[in-house]
Amino acid sequence: MEHQSHLLTWITFLPLLGMFVILATPGRAKEFIKQIALISTLPSLLLGIVMISRYDPAGGMQYIARHEWIRSFNIFYFMGADGISIPMIFLTVLLCPICILASWGINDRAKGYFALFLLLETGMLGVFCALDFFLFYVFWELMLLPMYFLIGIWGGPRREYAAIKFFLYTLFGSVFLFIAMIVIYIYTSSFDLTKLGAEIAGTELHTAVGLKWWLFLAMFVAFAIKIPAFPFHTWLPDAHVEAPTAISVILAGILLKMGTYGIFRISYPLFPDMALAFALPIAIIAFINIVYGALVAMAQTDLKKLVAYSSISHMGYVMLGMAAMTPEAMNGAMLQMFNHGCITAMLFLLVGVIYDRAHHRDIDGFGGLAKNVPVYAGISCVAFFAALGLPGLSGFISEALVFLGSFPVFPWITVLSTSGIVIGAVYMLWTYQRMFLGPLNEKYASLPDCNVREQVTLYPLAFIVVLVGIFPHLVLNLFSPTMSNLIDLLVK
């Protein structure tokens, strides 16, 4: 047994500790609760930074904690991090304090909100840290519950509908994952994600191609719903629109990544041969996601819905990259996961800022805002340009890598998908124009600009967007070796 590390355990469960503190606090002390919530996310962030700084990209799985959990089923409490999870963990611990800050305006039943939020953080971190399939699944589902309440209680007018839709949809997907997990367990008697691939190769499951096909499909459906891949995406616009700002940020910034993370972490290593068989369908779905998402985004008048559909489009790049399985494409996909997390988080935070002031999100209801809210307009400009893939900002590098990597494998799909670049520019700029340019809408002549709290939430993300745009290797190097191992496994 190798050296045990408690780092990931601390990162994951410290927010939970905060949750209990909040639960023990009387609900009237709202400011205090918010402060506790913020404080309990910070240690995870610090530890996350420590984690990255000590991480050795070439060193394989690190920070391993492995303890027996359920002996009867060979289930372990098994946590660890490699290149695939490190950026996601970092993204999570980064976005959570930001989201707490963005939720500062929540005063209705604040105790419940922040307690659930911290539970959500634990769930998300658990998903990214877990290396035991069962543990993974537990966190995967655990995350649903707080999300359901956070949307359902603190959401917009149609929150109940959105919450239940989100819940039903994702549960529908996860039950298939559940079945696949059990079937794999039955064949291998193991839940160890680091070894399952090899173990499957050693059992009769290896030759049962038909069954493997179904298993891969089952898992793909589960992950595709989270991504969300066409045609499983319709929960997303509703959930995003109705969710409170911070929850939209989490949804788009982290939850969507879980789908692709799951494919990288589970589907591909477990069934490399099926991954190849599914590559083309995934690529086609990716193309549909990119173009369809972008076109539908263009048709939206609700700013939040537009951003939501743009997420569908951007996650298409991730899928295109993962379908191509070349080093550039896979690295691009992984980088796109990270970048989209930051960019879309910014976009949703920006939507939240304007919604807090104007109390609506109708794009056409604004106009000329650049004149009186220059800071807001400036940050929006950065975010919008990052979203449309402007060089120098992070989104570009990942999209370019995806295209470069997938072009040799799927030339036509890639060429067709590049139209997403133009459509992306069209809807982003058009939106920018309708909101910020043109004559000032007199209704908003005295709109206050971003306050300090909002700027604090936005600047770190903007900084990362620019930083990664200029120095992409800061993030790329984290997972590049892991990805090349994965590719070796796939194209072996």
Partner: protein, 495 residues
């Protein structure tokens, strides 16, 4: 084992019998002091003592008692514990429930305890006569208790439906038992099994008919489709503690009966171990038939629950659905399947009793069984709302609740048996069930309430609720011990 020696294995039942007597005496002399419910206290004490004494029996080796009339094995021990625990909880519920508080408590408790004895006997019976006797012992008591409510009209209607439906079902089952006797010439399970093993070909249809007739009785007990019709009406009309009792203990009895009777007569343990096969030359795909019933049961249960507004009725349908899930484990005819059933039953006990306890609290405090009663519950009593939520998530089967682990165990068994289609039906049903369970959650958390006035929950109820919900969470995370316990208990006495 002879009758006298057998008594030492019969201590819990004897304690219950003594408790019944004490309850009756206490009631007769009207010994109620300071508002304390003495008969209830006696019943509670008796059932707790029985439960404690029962623990000792686990260490005893499996054996036949009372000249082969009943068996002592881990399986029956498990169910005895199950029923006793259930009785303890239901007694506590009853003691503080407003629904039955003004009625003749003595009768109520004595009948409850005698039902418990009947159930214990059903789970361990090794003889057709014993089975019938035990079943009638519990059924007759249940009919009466179902009518024990101050909601006069509905309770009596429930009672009538129950007695007629139950009478017919057990009658049909009895007819089946008589045919089984005719086919084999014996009422003893081991003898029946031996005869069937050596039987010649061509009795498939007879065997199937007998099975079907017996299934009418068993299916009625576990509320399996198409024998489930009574459940929603009776659950709705009965006093809530009894509904809770019926939904958990009575269902458990049905499963104990099904497994005991079916596995020890029409099936035989495979020499390879780990699973059961048809006896002799009877060539009937039992798994398929039970699997179809299981699929129908969970589907109709879940679909039926969707449009319910009465919580008790909703939980009745949910109970039907869960019978379907449990049948998945039964139909596999494997050890793992049995373990899964046992595991699931434990989880179901805590979860469902807790859910019904919340309903009792609703009924007591607001006189409201409908969805309206729980609207905005979070604002009024957060603890109860959270507890109910945990129960509902457990019923859906979401981690980190025990319900998830129960489902997990069931599906492991199911997929080991390669019953993929049933697994798909099962998980899809899980998704469907989310819809109506979430409606309750939604009502509790998302919907406005007409009053913000806090609900005062009786401390006993609060304690009981906690005691029921904590295991739901605990077993959701640390369930290794429970899994091992299930493995330990899933051993039927075999010949």
């Amino acid at each position: 084992m002879g009758n006298v020696e057998s008594l030492s294995y019969f201590v819990p039942e004897l304690i219950l019998t003594v408790a019944i007597l004490i309850v009756l005496f206490a009631d007769m002399f009207g010994m109620e002091r300071g508002g304390f419910d003495l008969p209830g206290g006696a019943a509670l004490l008796g059932s707790i003592l029985a439960l404690i004494s029962h623990v000792w029996l686990y260490s005893q080796p499996a054996t036949m008692l009372f000249e082969g009339m009943i068996a002592h094995d881990m399986f029956s021990a498990f169910f005895r514990g199950f029923f006793l625990l259930c009785t303890v909880v239901v007694t506590l519920m009853t003691m503080y429930s407003m629904e039955v508080i003004h009625l003749k408590k003595g009768e109520f408790y004595s009948i409850l305890l005698s039902i418990c004895i009947g159930m214990c006997l059903v789970a361990s019976a090794q003889n057709l006569i014993m089975i019938y006797l035990a079943l009638e012992l519990m059924s007759l008591g249940s009919y009466i208790l179902a009518g024990f409510s101050r909601r006069i009209g509905r309770s009596e209607e429930a009672s009538l439906k129950f007695v007629l439906y139950g009478g017919v079902s057990t009658g049909v089952m009895l007819f089946g038992l008589s045919l089984l006797y005719g086919l084999t010439g014996s009422t003893d399970f081991s003898a029946i099994q031996q005869v069937l093993i050596s039987s010649e070909k061509g009795i498939d249809l007879t065997a199937f008919t007998i099975f079907l007739l017996i299934l009418v009785g068993v299916g009625y007990k576990i509320a399996a489709v198409p024998f489930h019709f009574w459940a929603p009406d009776v659950y709705e009309g009965s006093p809530t503690p009894i509904t809770a009792f019926l939904s958990v203990a009575s269902k458990g009895t049905g499963f104990a009966l099904l497994i005991r009777l079916f596995y020890s007569t029409l099936l035989t343990r495979s020499p390879a171990g780990g699973f059961w096969v048809e006896v002799g030359d009877i060539d009937i795909d039992w798994t398929f038939h039970l699997a179809v019933i299981s699929a129908l049961t969970m589907t109709i249960g879940n679909l039926g629950a969707i449009s319910q507004n009465n919580l008790k009725r909703l939980l009745a349908y949910s109970g039907i659905a869960h019978a379907g899930y449990l049948l998945m484990g039964v139909c596999l005819l494997t050890d793992v399947g049995l373990q899964a059933v046992i595991f699931y039953l434990v989880v179901y006990l805590f979860t469902n009793l807790a859910a019904f306890l919340v309903v009792i609290i609703m009924v007591d405090t607001q006189d409201e069984e409908g969805m309206n009663g729980v609207r905005g519950l979070w604002a009024r009593t957060p603890i109860v709302a959270v507890a109910m939520t945990i129960c509902l998530f457990s019923l859906i089967g979401l981690p980190p609740t025990a319900g998830f682990v129960g489902k997990y165990y069931l599906f492991v068994a199911l997929l080991q048996g390669k019953l993929y289609w049933l697994a798909i039906v099962g998980v899809l049903n899980t998704v469907v069930s989310l819809y109506y369970y979430a409606r309750i959650v939604k009502a509790m958390f998302f919907e406005p309430t007409y009053t913000e006035e806090p609900i005062r929950v009786h401390p006993v109820y609060a304690g009981l609720l906690t005691a029921l919900v904590v295991p739901v969470l605990y077993f959701g995370i640390f369930w290794d011990s429970l899994a091992r316990y299930a493995r330990y208990c899933a051993s039927l006495i075999t010949y």
